[in-house]
């Protein structure tokens, strides 16, 4: 599956739990985990892929294996309303300047909320089995539904 909606990204660079297993002497005091290397000012104004995330932050880990069904995104129908971005519980909708870019498959759990809240006809996001390629899914996208009289 193609990852890297954003090419400079550290997103999902490692499998969760694949980190080096250090001993009791090297773990942090009180299980505190810092999000960023060193000090960070105004993190909210820095794009995620430009933030100095530590390996303790879940941003750099992938949990793609937890998912059995995935949302597939259809750029041709999307109206960039940002509904899915607002509702996604795992911040796995990637959007820039109110332009939908795609799905963060490293953190998406496949809950389907984005599909539920998508207002277009047909929907711009639909759920498919993990086994189906995105291109295959897009090629069989449903037609616009006529309003029933």
């Amino acid at each position: 599956m193609s990852r890297g909606v954003l090419s400079t990204d550290k997103r999902g660079m490692r499998e969760l739990g694949a980190e080096e297993k250090v001993g009791w002497d090297a773990v942090t005091q009180g299980v505190t985990l810092h999000s960023f290397e060193g000090e960070t000012k105004g993190a909210a104004f820095i794009k995620p892929e430009e933030r100095a995330y530590t390996d303790h932050n879940s941003y750099t880990a992938t949990v793609a294996s937890w998912r059995v069904v995935k949302p597939v995104y259809n750029r041709d129908i999307c109206i960039d309303c940002q509904n899915c971005w607002v509702w996604c519980p795992d911040t796995s909708i990637i959007s820039r300047d109110k332009q939908m870019l795609g799905i963060d498959y490293d953190h998406c759990k496949g809950c389907g909320v984005c599909v539920e809240v998508c207002p277009t006809n047909p929907k711009s996001l639909l759920m498919f089995s993990e086994a189906i390629e995105n291109d295959t899914a897009l090629s069989g996208w449903p037609e616009k539904k006529k309003k029933e009289k």
């Binding site: 005091q29 985990l33 810092h34 000090e39």
Partner: protein, 413 residues
């Protein structure tokens, strides 16, 4: 800026009031509390100091003790100096969060006024709540009177907040016998007390927005063991910091405290080991018995209940000629020997003299423990020493009505 409180050189304070004054002088940022007898006046006092401008802090009223300790955890993780008080059922309700606080290495101070645990419901003092906390990863220090409650509450902050320690601290005192008994207390002036405690220097505080941090992370089998081992080591290593802080306090006030208090142990043939306000009763009884009957009685009081002073107890026993050691537990042991008996026995086993070890359960639910009863127990220990073996059951009950109750005898062929 907080107003200064004028204090006399000697005040007449009960243990609760003395403790609340110590909390005021430490200038705590947040107290999240829920009232319970007999500890209520401690946090009530803090509330009034905040309301009257003596503290620049926050009193958070919550719906339960679970919420009280949770509020303390949040405030401490945010980066504040935090304390609260509780007793008995409230302590039990806090239990879940006590483990969170110690695992997260948050130096909260919990002033516990020891009280029996229901059922039957009882507001009087015994050590059931103190014992309930003994595996919670907190430092537990025991004050035997109001002066000590004041002194050790100040020390508690300085110990827990030390960056080599970073652990929460319980400061215990006995319900009513200490908490509600007015005694002479020599306080420090506000500026002196605050200077002793020092400014709070937080670690990984959540309100430092330049270094966002997660507290209370989940770990599974991959990491849990390592974190608990590190926490245990911090608790064990806190022994030297406790000694250091108590030493500094002695230099400032002339009042000396040790992780293990011992009285007349140098030549003691028999000794009692006990905690809390009963220590003073036992010391008085031992002195009288030495005068009246020439029985050489000593007293050992592990002031620091956690980390358990295995090292110092071993030294005190090993450096004395003691032949019989009786451990008195003021908590219903629930189908075992008393905790003090078990832990002191373990320390005694590694000494050369290996005294005969006996156990008394006493004072449950505030049952009085008087000098005469202490003397009776001491004389009984002397009989064991003379016989060279334990002449009674190993576990007995002091001050209990009804047929004599006891368990286990020494196996002799």
């Amino acid at each position: 800026m907080a107003k200064e409180f004028e204090l006399n050189e000697v005040e007449v304070w009960d243990g609760n009031y003395a403790t609340s004054q110590a909390l005021r002088q430490a200038q705590i940022d947040v107290v999240a509390a829920y009232p319970i007898t007999p500890s209520t006046p401690i946090v009530e006092g803090y509330g009034s100091y905040v309301a009257n401008g003596y503290i620049d802090g926050e009193f958070v009223m919550v719906e339960s003790e679970h919420a009280a300790m949770s509020g303390c955890v949040g405030a401490a993780a945010a980066g504040g100096r935090v304390a609260t008080a509780t007793s008995s059922q409230g302590f039990a309700l806090m239990a879940e969060v006590l483990y969170q606080a110690s695992g997260m290495r948050l130096p909260i101070v919990l002033t516990v006024v020891n009280r029996a645990l229901a059922s039957p419901l009882n507001v009087r003092g015994d050590h059931a709540d103190m014992y309930l906390g003994r595996d919670s990863g907190w430092i537990q220090i025991d004050a035997f009177n109001a002066q000590e409650a004041y002194d050790l509450a100040l020390c508690a902050f300085k110990i827990g907040e030390n960056h080599a320690v970073r652990l929460p601290v319980m400061m215990h005192q006995d319900g009513f016998t200490t908490s509600h008994k007015a005694q002479n207390v020599c306080p420090l002036q506000d500026s002196v007390a605050y200077k002793f405690v020092g400014d709070y220097k937080p670690v990984d505080e959540m309100l430092d927005f330049s270094r966002p941090v997660t507290h209370g992370a989940q770990t599974e089998e991959d990491w849990h063991f390592e974190h608990k081992a590190k926490q245990h080591k911090a608790l064990m290593d806190s022994r030297s910091v406790i000694d250091e802080v108590l030493g500094e306090f002695k230099a400032l006030t002339g009042r000396e405290y040790k992780r293990v208090e011992s009285y007349m142990m140098e030549d003691a043939e028999v000794a009692l080991v006990l905690l809390g306000s009963s220590v003073e009763t036992a010391v008085l009884a031992a002195k009288q018995l030495r005068e009246e009957e020439g029985i050489k009685v000593g007293i050992i009081a592990p002031r620091c209940f956690r980390p358990f002073p295995y090292d110092l107890i071993r030294d005190v026993i090993g450096n004395s000629p003691v032949k019989t050691l009786c451990c008195l537990d003021k908590s219903s042991p629930g189908g075992a020997m008393g905790a003090l008996f078990n832990e002191v026995s373990a320390a005694a086993y590694s000494t050369e003299n290996r005294p005969l070890m006996t156990n008394y359960i006493y004072g449950l639910g505030g049952r009085d423990f008087a000098v005469d009863e202490a003397k009776r127990i001491m004389k009984e220990q002397k009989a064991h020493a003379d016989a060279g073996h334990i002449t009674t059951e190993i576990q007995q009950f002091s001050g209990l009505r009804g047929p004599k109750l006891g368990f286990f005898e020494t196996r002799r062929s």
